[in-house]
């Protein structure tokens, strides 16, 4: 003990540092929590929250197409009400926000179709891939790279691959769709183009799911499987009763973020079919911004966020109990 104290003294040479450490250690749990959150909150405050507030302010103003200033006079929530009432569908938006008569042209509907289809398939396949990668077998590292690597492909390239593949006269994809009795110009048709975009997204983004779920799988205490094996659990039962519930928090995080990201899909659409053929909510935001309707665009951005927020709330309410961390 005398030695320990001696060496503690040795440490004390950097007095200010030691003082800071002591101060931190003596903080209450709440103070400590906020102290650690400070850097992240600071960064997010300046780089995320402030711009969003500023954009929100923009959304309360009229568009200004002609003047040098970016936005016009203050109009309150009119941009929002007009948008939701469908008044802007023709005159200010490139595509209708929601129009049931042409579902594949409505940003909201297209976004939902894309999100549900891609996230669902990605989760299932990603889970399968993670399970494969969790096994020990020769060459696992290469299979792992192969499975993860699509995630590393830049969106421009991902888009280009599928664009060219299904471009009649260039790739073979159009011939395939024609052979199976679909259209010969799959990219020119809203529904088939959406299908191709979903396919492209699944190809690339399943890796994200697989990677996260794999990490979750690897954190499971292996001895639990021993217990289950002895208790008589078949492989499937081990999966259902141990693996699944224990990776569920991870899967939920993955699912949550995939859903959010899918609902904001833009770059892929732009490169594969263009936003006119397959309009998503983000397409709407970007195109509206680029036509310099800043007020309207900001409102669309916030409505998009609100819709995503609603979807997320449904997730959170549904899975509150499963240790997701809220």
């Amino acid at each position: 003990m005398s030695t320990e104290q001696a060496s503690d003294k040795r440490q004390e040479k950097s007095g200010a540092y030691a003082g800071a450490v002591r101060w931190i250690e003596n903080l209450s749990e709440t103070q400590f929590a906020y102290l650690l959150l400070m850097p992240a909150l600071l960064l997010l405050g300046v780089i995320a929250f402030w711009p969003l507030l500023s954009t929100f302010e923009m959304s309360l103003r009229a568009d200004s197409l002609r003047g040098a200033s970016q936005v016009g006079e203050f109009v309150g929530l009119q941009n929002y009400t007009d948008l939701l009432a469908g008044k802007l569908d023709t005159v200010a938006l490139p595509q209708p926000f929601i129009d049931f008569s042409q579902p594949f042209k409505s940003a909201l509907i297209v976004t939902f179709i894309f999100t549900i289809a891609s996230v669902l398939v990605e989760t299932i396949i990603g889970f399968g891939q993670a399970l494969v990668l969790d096994q020990d077998f020769r060459g696992r590292r290469w299979v792992r790279v192969a499975i993860i690597i699509p995630w590393a492909v830049p969106i421009v390239i991902q888009g280009m691959i599928f664009y060219l593949m299904f471009q009649p006269g260039i790739g073979f994809g159009a011939n395939l769709t024609e052979m199976i009795g679909l259209t010969s110009t799959p990219l020119a048709n809203s529904s088939s183009a959406l299908g191709i975009i979903i396919l492209a997204d699944i190809w690339k983004t399943t890796a994200f799911m697989a990677l996260l779920i794999l990490a979750g799988l690897q954190s499971i205490d292996r001895s639990l499987y021993d217990v289950a094996k002895v208790a008589g659990a078949s492989k499937w039962q081990q999966f259902r009763m141990i693996t699944l519930p224990l990776v569920l928090p991870t899967v939920l995080v993955a699912l949550l973020f995939r859903t959010i990201a899918a609902m904001r899909v833009y770059g892929l659409i732009e490169t594969v079919s263009g936003c006119t053929t397959v309009p998503s909510l983000s397409c709407l935001v970007v195109t509206t911004f680029s036509t310099r309707r800043y007020g309207t665009a900001a409102a669309v951005a916030f409505v998009t966020a609100a819709i995503i927020g609603i979807v997320v709330s449904i997730y959170i309410v549904k899975f509150r109990d499963s240790q997701g961390g809220f």
């Binding site: 639990l224 021993d226 289950a228 094996k229 002895v230 009763m241």
Partner: protein, 395 residues
Amino acid sequence: MGEVNLEHVSKRYEDVTAVDDMNLDIRDGEFVTLVGPSGCGKSTTLETIAGLTIPSDGTISIAGREVTKLPPKDRGIAMVFQNIALFPHMDVYDNISFGLRLRNYEKDEVDRRVENASEIVQLEGLLDRMPDEMSGGQRQRVAIARAIVREPDVFLMDEPLANLDAKLRVHMRTELQRLHKELDATIIYVTHDQAEAMTMSDRVAVINKGELQQFAPPLDCYNEPENLFVAGFIGSPSMNFVEGVVDSNGLQTPDYHVEFDTGQLNDVSVDDTLTMGVRPEDVYLVEDAGNVSNPTSRIDATTDVLEPMGDEIFVYILTGEGETVGMDAEADDAHQLLMSVNPDKDIDTDEDVEIVLDRERIHLFDTDTGDAIAHGLEFAPVEAGPTGTEAEGDD
């Protein structure tokens, strides 16, 4: 139904042989305890029986069927794990009922069995707790209940009572014995607790460095240990060992001479070095030796450390010139004896005492091989001495 047979089972890791040519023949319904020092391969043996580890060599059969490579679930066993391993995401009820729900038991039946098991382990009020809200002992009880509900033919238990307090341990011990009887199940049990090993088991398997040392009923191991290792391992506190040299009428240790009839021993000749073993309760103060039918001659000694235990006192005594009991006990072995006396005995440290040993309870071992030579010695100056225990009598 529940016989378990291990034939030449070995398990090697890269640099360790955890289990070495193990042969065990466990009868249906038997309660067998595996004991041995830490790291001797008890858990590994259990795991090979459970099917969690595939042995490097040898075969395992359960109920007459070879199961060496069968998955655990097809072996009809239940197991309590040394590291407890509760499912962190399930409450106590779900943990306990896990195996039953796997087999689609009806809700009522599951409830009934869980209730029953949780009563046995005294967990009644805690069924909806999560594992991380419980004390160490409570968790261990959940682990036991999880095995109990299954009512299999063979139970494997790896130190199931390690974290329980004495009272609960005794209770659980009785419960397990009752279960054993009621279910008529085979139980293979790993423990560090001598009392458990002694009271519960039909037979004890003493293991050292992966090798089976003795497999016999507990009292046999206690009274007739087959070798030095078993003798030293079974019994707490441990048996006293003193090395000596055989002479014509007994054994000469550094400090004293123990007379006995050397003729009774086969394969032993004068000048051989033997190790004598005697348990603390077989060392007597001369004044207490009234009941001992065949005591050795008196040995002068001094008391050293006293350890009062409540129901007895352990007295470390020094024979001959030995200093105070050092920490590296080995070196002092020859000069030191541990003796147990009555708690109301009026005894003090550094007192000069005279002691005798109960000659019928003295063990002799070959110092080199460690093998037992005799349990209980005879001393009859006249050749015709029909009294006393038969030496070498292993019955």
